[in-house]
Every structure is written in C-alpha cells, then in structure tokens.
Symmetry: C2
C-alpha cells in the first residue's frame, strides 16, 4: 500500500514519487494551499495539496486530525525558510497527486500534543494516547531493550525456556493471584510471582543456562511504580560462582545500555557490601550520583545529657546517624520544616540539626541548635570531625530504630542531594550491593525471615551460623542498583538438600510444611542438583529509567491503574453466574446485581 514510512522520506528521494500511509497529525490552510502533516510510527512528512488538482483538493479539504490517509505524490525540496532541521523529513515535502481517506476519525478526545492530561483520561483513551510520539518512542525503546537483553543472552549460550503461568499457590511473600480450577472443584492455580522454582528445576534438569522474559504477578496494593503484572528478565545458570554471575550480568547490563542508549557504564561497576551501603547511604539501593553520606555517631552519644540521643545510642536496635549538608546553614526555617515533614513519611518523629556557624567554637555560640547544650564537648568534637563539617554547614541527625534512621536519612540524603545539587554529574551510577544478610528478624512475628528468598545460599564459611547465629549469617546474594533504583537482584541458590532443610529450619518452616509446599524442590535437589544461581531484572523499571518517564505506566502499552483496573477495557468486570458455577465458587457477599449488570 505504500513505498516508504513518512519519517524516512528525505532529500535523497527528491523528484521521486512516493506513496505514504499514516494519520493527519495536523492540517492547515495557508494561502489557498492545504498542508497535511502525515504521521506514522517513523515520523512525520509534510504533504502539500495544491488546488490545481480539484478532486484531490476536495478530499484534502475534508481531512481532519487523525484521519487515516493514503497519499501519493512527488518529493520536492521545501522552499527556503521552511526547512525544519528537527525531523528527518524536514528538508522535503510531498507534492500531493492523490489522497485517499482510508478511514475518517471523530475529533479525538484530546490533541496529541496536549500536555498535563490526567492519567485517567490517558488510560481511558489509551489507543489515542499511544499515538503520541513520546509513547511511540517509549514502546520502541522497550522493544529494543528487551531485544538487546535477548541477543546478549542468546550469544552467551542462554536458552529461553517457558515456564507455566498456571502454577501452585505458595502463600508466602506477596499475595497470589488465584485461578479457580473447573476440573478440580475447590482447587486453585496461582499466577507466578516469579519463575524462581521452575528455573531452579531447569538447572537440576541440566539446561545449564536459562533465560526468559516473562510476566510475573503480585496482588499487592500498588505504589507508584508497581503493577499487578510486571515483566522480568529472568536468568539462571549452573556451574558459575557468585563472582562469575555478577561479572556476566554486569556485562549484560553494560551491553544493553551501550546498544540501546549509547551510554557507556563504568567498568567494573562498584561493589558495596550491604552493611556499608546501609551505613553510608541508609539504603540497599543507594543513589551514588548524590555525594552526601551518612556518618555513624551512636558511639559518641551514649553518655550525653540529651536523653533522646542517649537512649537510642544505648538501645540494641537503634542508630544515630548524621548527615552533613555543606553550606546548609543558609537553609531557611521553611526548608527545614519541609524536610522534617518529609522524614516523617518514613516514621522519623523529628529531625534534629546543628547549624555550624563557626566551627572554631564548638559551643552554643558557634553551633546553633536547641540540642547543643545537651551534648557534651567530646560528642560535639567527634560529630564535627567525623562529618568533616565546617563553618556554614548544617548537620541533620536521625536517631531512632535502625530502620527508621536508614529510611529517613537515606531518603533525605537523596532529596537534598538533588535539590541542592550535591551530585557528581554522572548520568548513570550503577552499584552492586553484595554480602546481604541471610535473615532479618521480624519483631512482630518473632521469627527470622529470608532477606532474599528461602532458596538463597549462605556463604560457605557461614554454614555453621545457620543454627547458632542466623543474624550473622551472610548470603551469596546480590542486587544491582542504578541511580537509587533496584534494577534486579539474585543469588547463588542452595543446591544441596540438607542445606535447604537447615535454612527452612532457621526460618521456622516445619518439615511437613516444607514438604507440602516445596517437596518437589527438595526432591529435585536429591538427584545431583548442580551448583547454580541467577538473577532477575525488572524490565519495566529499567525502561522507565531509560525513557526518563515518571511512571512505569508510561512504558507499558495497556497498564492497570493504581486501583488495579484497566480503564480502556473496563476490567475487571462482573461475570455470568454460569461461569462461577462451572468454577465451583460463589461470591461471598450478595453482589448479584453487580454480576447481572456487569459492573458496579
């Protein structure tokens, strides 16, 4: 039907006849001539309709925005002064010989270049929204990114194997999406939260290197960057140790960024232990573009008169950290109030600070703060030395349970860093976080939880700690963070059944429970399971960052809202009573009206 994409017509085609198909992006009349900007996925070409061809001109007059057209014409140079250097076809225009309306269009619900549309409007009219050049670019970017992942993995000998979507429910971790079975009354499939167990089984089955770009599902309340269904680049390999896996995966990410973004990431990526990341950045996915760091001061505050600090400093699970803001003494009261409110989101009950007016006077004269009088000289001295503060700086303090301090000061560090320009100027700062703890203690449930998942291998030298001191046991786990977001994470897995059983024991999972939930894995481990490990990258997140988009919904063709709805197709919806009967379920509350009218 056509000879070229609109966006590909350029001056090499001058004097040739072309046929284009696309949409009327804009139509304007100018001096008796009609100009149509014809758009397809490759870009825009300007079509000029002269009145000397009457029939063609009449058709052109009928064209409105978003009509689908087919145009035949001759390529010619644009008159001087009308060249648009911003687009590939900006030096030419097409003198129209023939125009055909393939399909007219109603007036679109919004103009394609309209900004500040509400997201609901965009999602309700997603088909029109997807026509916007930015969304076209985002979907192309997503495609090229996934393709770059595939090609690297293909070349590295990984093979793509599909794992089931209808799987067994393992009610831990996040909430499962369930699928009632028609054939087996009262039983349910679950949609996979990840192919974790299947990819381990594939390693035991000897496939050696596996990958899959696949949908995963979590029925959780959605935050800004979450979706009920999301896409993972899922990878597993046998016969490689932690360092080799990290090295290969790093090469993968480096290749993807180079191919898709023409960005050269550092070689190698820096590596931080989980312990150090928390200490210096309060985060296991630190934004290393920000140059500010947290400083540990608990040990010098144990005997200060200021009870808030002393109590935390002497408590088991507490932390006091300082964050120096160079030149921060000029922060306004309003700014400090805003920061105080901000850390409140993370559970901090306040935000103590010291303005360093004169670093040569470590007292209430040189240091401006209500708390200074309750800190003794040694403490003040240590704080100034460790933070490296100088006159004109400001030091924020977090003092609370460790998690609150990490979250609050970690987030404040990033916010101030970007707001006040304490950044190193690099666009991309990847970092591996390694040496994660195996377990974290759940104070409420009074038990140990797995930091990664229960199939993660402990460090060889920490096997003995599984029973004696699980809190000190480190894992062969690794996360890759980029600019403060987690790109992916993984681990070397347990490949020996007896270690897996010890870990289940440390997690308080009884033998029969382990058998009933993971019996097939425990069985598989007994038949010569190879050493193996892997990783999963979040494709949506990676593409969102690459696109510079605000939300992952901008890199998904048909996303759900934060209320887990598809506004376009109006899903979920009521279903026929007959369908429920076949599935051996009924609605818990009487919402028959909903079922009948299809929708609440």
């Amino acid at each position: 039907m056509r000879t070229h994409y609109c966006g590909q017509v350029d001056k090499r085609l001058i004097d040739q006849e072309v046929t284009l198909c696309g949409w009327a992006h804009r139509r304007r009349d100018h001096g008796g001539v009609i100009f149509v900007d014809l758009r397809d996925r490759a870009g825009i070409a300007q079509v000029v309709c002269d009145p000397d061809r009457a029939e063609m001109f009449r058709t052109a007059e009928s064209v409105r925005n978003e009509f689908c057209l087919r145009v035949r014409g001759r390529v010619r140079a644009r008159p001087p002064g009308t060249v648009n250097v911003n687009i590939a076809s900006g030096e030419i225009e097409i003198l129209c010989h023939e125009i055909e309306v393939l399909n007219p269009s109603l007036t679109p619900p919004f103009q394609l270049d309209e900004e500040n549309l509400s997201e609901n409007t965009r999602l309700l009219h997603r088909v029109i929204d997807l026509r916007r050049p930015q969304m076209q670019k985002n979907m192309q970017l997503r495609y090229r990114t996934a393709r770059a992942f595939r090609r690297f993995l293909d070349d590295a000998g990984f093979i793509d194997i599909e794992t089931p979507m209808l799987t067994r429910s393992t009610p831990e971790g996040a909430r499962d999406y369930l699928v009632p079975s028609r054939v087996h009354p009262g039983q349910f499939f679950a949609l996979p939260q990840s192919p974790q167990l299947f990819k381990q089984l594939l390693m035991v089955a000897g496939f050696d290197r596996y990958y899959q770009i696949t949908k995963c599902f979590r029925d959780e309340d959605l935050r800004a960057d979450r979706q009920p269904e999301f896409t993972q680049v899922d990878i597993e390999t046998s016969f490689m140790d932690e360092g080799e896996i990290i090295g290969l995966m790093e090469e993968l990410i480096r290749t993807v960024f180079a191919e898709v973004m023409a960005v050269e990431l550092p070689r190698p990526f820096p590596r931080l232990s989980h312990h150090e990341a928390m200490r210096r950045y309060g985060s296991d996915k630190p934004d290393l573009r920000v140059t500010l760091e947290l400083v540990e001061v608990s040990d010098v505050l144990r005997d200060v008169p200021f009870k808030v600090f002393a109590n935390v400093a002497n408590s088991e699970g507490g932390r006091i950290a300082a964050l120096r803001v160079p030149g921060g003494a000029s922060l306004t009261r309003g700014e400090i109030d805003a920061y105080t409110q901000f850390v409140g989101i993370y559970g901090a009950r306040g935000l103590a600070y010291i303005k360093v007016n004169d670093v040569s006077q470590l007292n209430e004269t040189g240091l401006q703060s209500p708390i200074v009088k309750n800190l003794h000289a040694a403490a003040l001295q240590a704080i100034i030395e460790r933070t490296g503060a100088t006159s004109g700086d400001l030091i924020f303090f977090g003092a609370d349970r460790r998690k609150v301090v990490d979250d609050a000061l970690g987030a404040l560090r990033v916010r101030i860093g970007h707001e006040k320009g304490f950044v190193n100027g690099n666009a991309w700062e990847p970092v591996w976080i390694v040496d994660f703890p195996m377990f974290e203690y759940d104070d409420e449930a009074r038990r140990w939880n797995a930091c990664h998942h229960p199939f993660t291998s402990p460090k060889d030298e920490h096997l003995g700690l599984l029973a004696s001191d699980p809190g000190r046991c480190l894992a062969k786990a690794y996360d890759l963070a980029l600019n403060g977001s987690e790109l992916g994470g993984g681990s070397v897995r347990i490949h020996r059944a007896e270690v897996q059983e010890q870990v289940f024991k440390a997690l308080g999972i009884a033998d029969d429970e382990a058998q009933s939930k993971f019996g097939f894995l425990l069985a598989a481990l007994q038949y010569g399971a190879p050493p193996h490990g892997g990783l999963a990258f979040g494709l949506d997140r990676i593409v969102t960052m690459m696109a510079g988009a605000e939300s992952i919904r901008d890199v998904i063709a048909f996303p759900k809202t934060q209320r887990a709805q598809c506004l376009l197709t109006d899903a979920p919806s009521g279903v026929d009573e007959k369908q429920l009967r076949e599935l051996h379920i009924r609605l818990r509350q009487r919402v028959d009206t909903q079922v009948e009218i299809g929708k609440a």
Copy 2:
C-alpha cells in the same frame, strides 16, 4: 568452573587439559578401570579413571548414575576399536586427574534411556525426564524455533509489544480462566484466549507492525494436542492486504524451517479455497502428502433406488463423496471393518463400498458390493468415470450430512493414505486455505456463528451479502496447514466501525451487548483505524511437528496432564480460607477438608 562443555570436547583438544562439569550418565568398571560417561546439555564425554591415582579412583568408585561431577583431566585419543562415530566426542576420552562430586544423587526413579515410560511417571519426575537427551533436544529446538521467528520479524520491522495477561472476560468462543479481583469485590479478570483485541488496538494506535510470542489460555476439556496454556506467535500489521500478509507470513515460515530444520519448503506454498479443500480433502487442513482425493457424486445419485443415497443426495445439507483406493479390492474384510469402525468416530453410520473387480463390466459381476444392484447404470458409469477407478480398485462412499462426510472420509483418506503408502514422498506439505466463509450456521442455536472470529473482514465484493445472504459471504481469512495440521490462521480485520456493526448484527449480537463487550474496539475504530490484519501461529504445534514428537507435552518443559494438572508441583491445590476471603469468594460445595489439608 569448567573449560568446555562435555559434548564439545573433540580431537582438536588432544593433549590439552580440560575441566568439565556434568552428570554421570553411565559408570562402568572394565579391567580395573572406571569409565564415566559425563553428560551435559551439549552431549557426552568419556572419562577414564585409572587406579594409579588412588584418591581420585576412590571418588570415582563412589560415583553412581546422575551424580553431579566436576572432572579435570587430559584429552587423549581413544584406543583403536573403541571410537564412537555417533557423537562429537567419540574419538577422544579424558584421562581423569581429579574428580569432585558436586552433588550426589539418589537412584533415579527411572533410567534416562528407559523407553515406554508412562507419561504420568515422566510428568511426576519431570526434572529427571527433562534430562533425557531427547527432551534436551526438544527444548533446544523450541528455543531455536522461537528465536528464528523473532529474528525474521525483527528484521521485517515488527516490534514486540506486551499485552496484558489480566484482561476482561468476553464469554464467547472458548471458556475463560477467571481471576477474582481482591480490590473490586465480585469482579474478575480473565486470562487472555488470545491478544486479538489488543493487537487490533495497537494497530489503531499506529504501531504499524506488531508481534508477540505469548501465552494464551483456554479452559476447555483437553484433547491430545491441547494444553490449558499454550504459546502463540501473534502477528499483526497495518496497510497490507490479504495477499501481502499471506506472502510475508509464508516467507516467515519458509525462513524458520530453513534455519531451524535446514528444510526448504516449496515456493510459493499452494493455495486452496476453503470450498475446494472441503470438496477434495474433506478438511480445511488437508494433508497434501496423501495423494488420494474425495470425489463428489451426489448429483448422479438423486434418482437411484438405494434410498440411503437418494435421500442424502436430495437433502439440503447432505453430501455423497467417493474415495477411490487404488488396488483396494485386495483389502480384507477385517480391514474394511476397521475402517468402518474408524469413520464411526466421526459420526458416520456406515461405510458403503464397491470393489471394482472388472471395470469393463459395470454390473454385479464386475462390481462387488451389496449396493450395486440398487444403483442404476448411469450412476455406476459416472462413479467409475469421476473416480477414475480401474480393475482391482475399491471405492468407499460417505453419504450423510456434509460435516459428517467431510470429517469421516477426510480422516479415512489420511489414514489409508499413510497406511497403504498413497503419499507423494514429500516430508513437508504446506498449504494455504483461503476464501473461508464468514459465517457458519449453528443448527441448534439457530443462528450464524463467525467461522474465524467476529472481527474478520468480509471480502469487499461481499459486503452487500452481510444482511441479505450471510451464508454466501466470504471472508478475508486464511489458514496455513502443514501435513494435515493447522500451523496458524488469521485474517484481514474489519477496520471500519459500520462494517463491524453490520457483522455483529449478522451474528445476532445486539447493539447494547456489542457495546458492553466490545465498546472499546468499536470506539477505537472510529478514530481513523488503519486497514490491518494478521495471523497467529501455534508454537507448540509447530515445534511438536518439527521434533516429530507424539504430543505437544513433549515440547513443553512443564506441561499439564489431560486432566489439567501439574503432577510435579501438584497444582492446582487447595488454598487457605483466608485467601478466598480476601478475594470475596467462597467454595460452592463444602469442601473445607480439601482446603484444610491442601489437597483432596
């Protein structure tokens, strides 16, 4: 951990030291020496353990089948007479210096070379089953096939776009798998039966060329070649007509077969109208390797005394067809009885036949059959002429409703063709079936159903028939059959809202029903939808044929049984009452015991 794959070690590596990882495929002692066939995904290498290295030898003695090993040793030529030309590493062996048991193995539930295992045993121990070289090959084949599809489509400018897995239920066609919504009580998502509507929306959104290799779901009772979840290569393009789409898709299949199988398919594929396919082969996916054909004889049997034939010949929806079997006069009574039973599967109530003993005598002497005396000379003459029968042949007859005759004689044609060698010797016979009817009449429901789906475009010249004579209206639909199986099918879609509405009307879908189910599509068509069409290939089926496997379960890593269960993970399973409560559903019958103990 290793330097090479086992299957890759060959004589070019002689005298070099290699490190291999893999599984003990076989261990045997021979003259005081231990031989271990070490297996990985690339193949097998023979490892020789001499007793002169005592520690290594002791370890080798402990090795049993399926132990996971790491072996270091020197490559050397095998002694003359022990060369195995069937495997890449058959000319060499590895003189073992060091052997490490990475993980021992219990005695496997079956030997990897055991044949005639029950499928249930294989699925229950799928991890071991997948280690079998044939299954390794099948999964590799599947991977290479999917990759070949992707690469062709990438190169042809198609972009891979993901469509949702949690979609809206449209209760027609097959039964949906439903997913209860937690956030919206009483409402449900459905798993997609295909991305049909989404890919059409992507065309309306201007993505021009789309593909996706994706899971689809149908909750139907399973036949031998069906799975609840199956994989489609889903393709859609704008601005191409029926012929162009067929041409490009044919090139795609030709390329995939050439790359993956080194098979050159014919260029071009033959094309048959649906009408001709049914007439000559009784099937819309004819096996063209078989040279036998059906012959129409209804018209010459209208006035014969044999009532069974005359009644069918004079009925509206009846068909009488003949199938000549060259040399078939020598078929035994037992064979003919077996064929009669076979056509019974398809609803045929009998299988009339004539043995042509002497073609020069068209009477009860030359033609041996109980029905001959009730057929008149003109009929017999016509039957012999049309079938081209000669002395020694046999002619089978099907006389019934058209569908019964098509199904029964179509299947008989294929069975006899392969059993008796009436085949053309070609390994692969692709054929396009085109010019499908738009609608088929459902006698029970007394309404027209869509032959493809309700979004298929009628032929331009048949638009007028939509209202006046839907039965004669042909569609821009096409199926690709190979060796009697459907590889895929598709159509040009309706891109104008008013045509879509006419088709809904012809199907008896009321306006409000159309709006509530497909309103988003009808709306999208009103905004300059481009002409578009596409196709979907069944990946599982294609790979099954390529692999020469008996069942699609042999090309799926973790398939479901025909009772829609995963024996390995024991899914579906009972779930916690709490999960059901969160989803606002309860079980219809009291099967609490099942829920509590997790499984009936």
